[in-house]
Subunit: 305 residues, 2 copies
């Protein structure tokens, strides 16, 4: 699967994904009002507002980008209605030719991870049929439980040609609290990185593995080290833009071939219309604001490659 | 919220919860057949079989136990239909007077953890209304992202009188791969434990905190140490029974007052009818087999307290 992502990145010349992480506060008032008028002040109304918001952003950006990364929490907060829109968003993106990275950060003991893997990137057997619960091309995975909690995801990557990105060094301010702890002179995140490489060797797809790593844009010195330790691992890089990561910070996430990383921006793209220099588009034209923000982000990142 | 759990544990004299983690292979054939005949070989058919299975087990055991712990992955694997049954199971358990520990192991950067917290133990604001997505009394939380990934859950515990159990030392075979790594002579899981205590002090409810810890039954020496380090932290203890933990292994999870831990069993209870000594009940009477397995588990655990 990683080779498909690389192909799309090369075709679009855009090593980025748009984080479809819609908070209700990002959705322009006219859309919220319309949805709540139609469906009432209900979970269904909120979910419909988010769907209309997503659809306009996808329509305005799909031809520029290889992939999207919906954060499932933003849908899960609205319960079943929210998850219905998560599934609908995934379907719609795939129809538009985009690859979908489900940012689900699942991870549990073996049998439970198997269920998550089947539900998100694999399939379940029901009688004589193989059926799909959610069906994204990639998901993110939490490694805290160790190999037997990650292996089921790798197995499904192999069985169904899918991919995962395992959390190595996250972009948030307190990520160092455990991840940076020194173990015989090596920080924990580097030990996790070594395991990711090991797991990744079991699912190679060309020069890169289907088992990627999440490496935050906000810690450039660490990404430089990780890039060297993990030459065949694709990085999913959160933290650009609203979280503080700059293009300059990102350059170490890439290999010399210009590949090796896909940078995510969520708020900076989907809520672009709320901030300078995109406020001029106005809330009515939030999709065009997002399109311009994508163009600017792509140019910004390509400027350091 | 932890005081409500303690009250129910004292009333039932059963420091246990039933893990409602239904794999389709656990559901007796007659139920699967009936559901797939009615709904076809579909996700809806699978979900309906699981719902009928859950309902019979809840009906057969609810008067004996304080709480249940549905593992959301087992529902999520069937997509929206599965999650519909997760929500229905939560509702039904609450109607029967049970507290529900949603085993979701969520955890992310701050704003995302906030969304998970609102969706599972809190509420979302839609227009003038506060609405609930899923609404369990407790959930499990993954600490890999550090304080800013956990704090939003603690805040919601305080705002809505709910509780969480943070993964400290999990029950699976490779849990030690990262969790046991020594940091200046202290294993990582103990550092996580120290943070759980710190977070817990912000949400005390009587002698215990609403911020509990997941401590696997399969590592008794470690639970002994953790029990001493965390006197006011309730332990959610997986790994009893099918995963290999015995009652003798469990005694260190409890404080001298006989409180401090709630032990989960999933397969050992819900699939009891498949194994000696409960096979005599037969697949038709799987609910009665589960009831007997609960009675035996309670007696077993009380024998070491």
């Amino acid at each position: 699967m990683i080779s498909q992502l690389i192909e799309k990145i090369q075709k679009t010349k855009a090593p980025i994904c748009v984080g479809l992480d819609p908070m209700l506060s990002y959705v322009p008032e006219h859309l919220v009002k319309k949805s709540l008028t139609e469906f009432g002040e209900t979970l269904e109304g909120a979910a419909e507002a988010i769907w209309q918001f997503n659809k306009e952003i996808i329509d305005a950006t799909y031809d520029l980008i290889p992939a999207v990364k919906p954060q499932i929490a933003m849908y899960e907060q609205f319960g079943l209605e929210g998850l219905r829109v998560y599934a609908k968003t995934v379907d719609y993106c795939q129809e538009k030719g985009l690859l979908v990275i489900g940012d689900v950060k699942r991870g549990d003991i073996g049998s439970t991870s198997t269920a998550y893997a089947m539900g998100h990137i694999g399939s379940v057997q029901v009688g004589s049929k193989k059926l799909h619960g959610f069906h994204t091309e990639f998901i993110t995975v939490n490694p805290y439980l160790g190999t037997d909690g990650v292996k089921p995801f790798v197995d499904v990557c192999n069985a169904e040609d899918k991919g995962i990105f395992v959390l190595v060094k996250t972009s948030n301010p307190s990520s160092g609290e455990f991840q940076d702890k020194q173990i015989d002179g090596t920080p924990l995140y580097e030990l996790v990185a070594e395991k990711v490489v090991e797991w990744g060797q079991q699912s190679m797809d060309g020069n890169y593995s289907n088992v990627g790593a999440v490496v935050g844009a906000t810690y450039p010195e660490m990404s430089r080290i990780l890039r060297k330790k993990m030459p065949n691992t694709y990085f999913l890089v959160p933290g650009y833009g609203a979280q503080g990561g700059t293009a300059e910070d990102l350059k170490y996430c890439f290999n010399e071939d210009g590949l090796g990383a896909i940078v995510n921006s969520s708020r900076g793209i989907i809520a672009a219309y709320k901030k300078e220099p995109y406020a001029k588009f106005g809330a009515e034209h939030f999709g065009e604001a997002s399109r311009q923000a994508v163009l600017d982000m792509v140019a910004d990142i390509n400027s350091v490659l």
